[in-house]
């Protein structure tokens, strides 16, 4: 965030809160969007930690999509069902990725 912008805002009578909400946040918005989408995308696929910690449980209340997929395909060899779950996961991911990729293109990262 260029210091000049913040100084200009304070010259115009903006306090620290106003400066934060009207200068800092808008300037950082593109990068915040990228980080938010990346975080959602990565956490959506999380598997190892919950799987290792909870796999000995008999009930399925801890299932995430990734664990559900794993249990169905590798666990009980329902490969058709497993593939279907995988397709659904990828489709959800594609919707989220759309915003991410659009933001990357806007930022000029795709040149």
């Amino acid at each position: 965030v260029p210091r000049d912008l913040l100084e200009a805002a304070s010259v115009d009578g903006a306090g620290p809160v106003r400066g934060f909400s009207d200068v800092t946040v808008p300037v950082l918005k593109p990068i915040l969007l990228v980080l938010t989408s990346l975080s959602i995308i990565w956490d959506f696929g999380v598997f190892t930690q919950p799987f290792l910690l909870l796999q000995s449980r008999p009930n399925t209340d801890y299932y995430l999509m990734s664990i559900y997929l794993f249990e169905k395909s590798i666990g009980i060899h329902e490969y058709g069902l497993g593939s279907a779950i995988a397709i659904v996961m990828v489709l959800i991911m594609l919707v989220l990725s759309f915003f991410y990729v659009r933001q990357m293109v806007r930022l000029g990262d795709v040149r």
Binding site: G45, F47, I74, L94, R111
Partner: protein
């Protein structure tokens, strides 16, 4: 203003403590004797430190074999991804070709795919080439997600190097290859270091694919070995598990300490005038 700064520093310390606590607890538990670990009144630091758990962990079957397997996989993945990603990144950053933008978008999209969604297709493909149960199959699998990210990172670094520098080298009588080796390669070294750290961590920590592909205990990686450490008939051996986790974490830290000094940013700042 002064009170403000103290407040922010305190907040920073609290955040640091929250993040560092699990690592500290792993380390601390690894040195505690069994009685202290399951005691109702937990102690912060091991009062009677013992190396017994480390001894147990190291002497658990297949520790050294699997550590060696992990090292092989990681070294090959790091070396291959550095070479391939560097060449691909140069092509993407320096040359115009048809389908370049599509390629870049595709590379971003590939990173979005959840790893678990790829288990079945990857297994089918690897089985066709008899690569399940082989370290080579695991290496090929890791390359599928390490490579796109590495290319992406390196491309960012290479774009930041002014074209004029290379052109100046070529005007001074260097060939394109000479400029490439003498100018581009040294300047992009910090990028190569950052990429290699990423590749190392990814390949070292990966679990699902190794777990599915490597079923023979002689041919597993350290993460799979660690997951198997968990359950014995008598319950979980927490001391041994924490000692084993500590041992597993060491190589990443060592690698990072070895190469991190080379991460320098802004090498080319002011290299070109005007």
């Amino acid at each position: 203003v002064r009170a403000n700064r103290v407040g922010w520093n305190a907040l920073g310390l609290v955040v640091f403590a929250v993040i560092a606590f699990p690592v500290f607890w792993m380390f601390s538990t690894a040195f505690k004797p069994g009685v202290d670990i399951i005691s109702y009144t937990p102690t912060w630091i091991p009062l009677h430190p013992t190396l017994l758990h480390f001894h147990d962990a190291i002497h658990t079957p297949y520790f050294w074999t699997d550590a060696k397997n992990s090292l092989i996989v990681v070294s090959v993945v790091v070396a291959l991804s550095l070479v391939l990603a560097f060449l691909a990144a140069v092509a993407l950053a320096k040359f115009r070709f048809t389908g370049r933008k599509g390629f870049i978008v595709l590379m971003i999209l590939i990173q979005m795919l959840p790893a678990n969604a790829l288990i079945i297709p990857l297994y089918v493909v690897l089985a066709r080439y008899h690569q399940t149960g082989q370290l080579t199959g695991v290496i090929a699998t890791y390359m599928t997600f390490v490579l796109p990210f590495s290319i992406w990172t390196l491309r960012g670094f290479i774009i930041g190097i002014p074209r004029d520098l290379e052109e100046a080298a070529m005007v001074d009588g260097n060939t394109r290859l000479g400029a490439f080796v003498k100018i581009l390669l040294p300047l992009v070294a910090p990028g190569l270091v950052a990429t290699s750290i990423f590749a190392f961590i990814q390949a070292w920590n990966e679990f699902i694919f190794a777990y599915i592909l490597l079923t023979d205990s002689q041919k597993q990686t350290l993460t799979v070995w660690l997951a198997g450490f968990y359950g014995t008939a008598h319950g979980t051996d927490w001391g041994g598990l924490m000692a084993a986790s500590t041992l597993t974490a060491i190589p990443v830290v060592v690698f990072f300490l070895l190469v991190q000094r080379r991460i320098v940013f802004g090498l080319t700042q002011g290299a070109v005038r005007g």
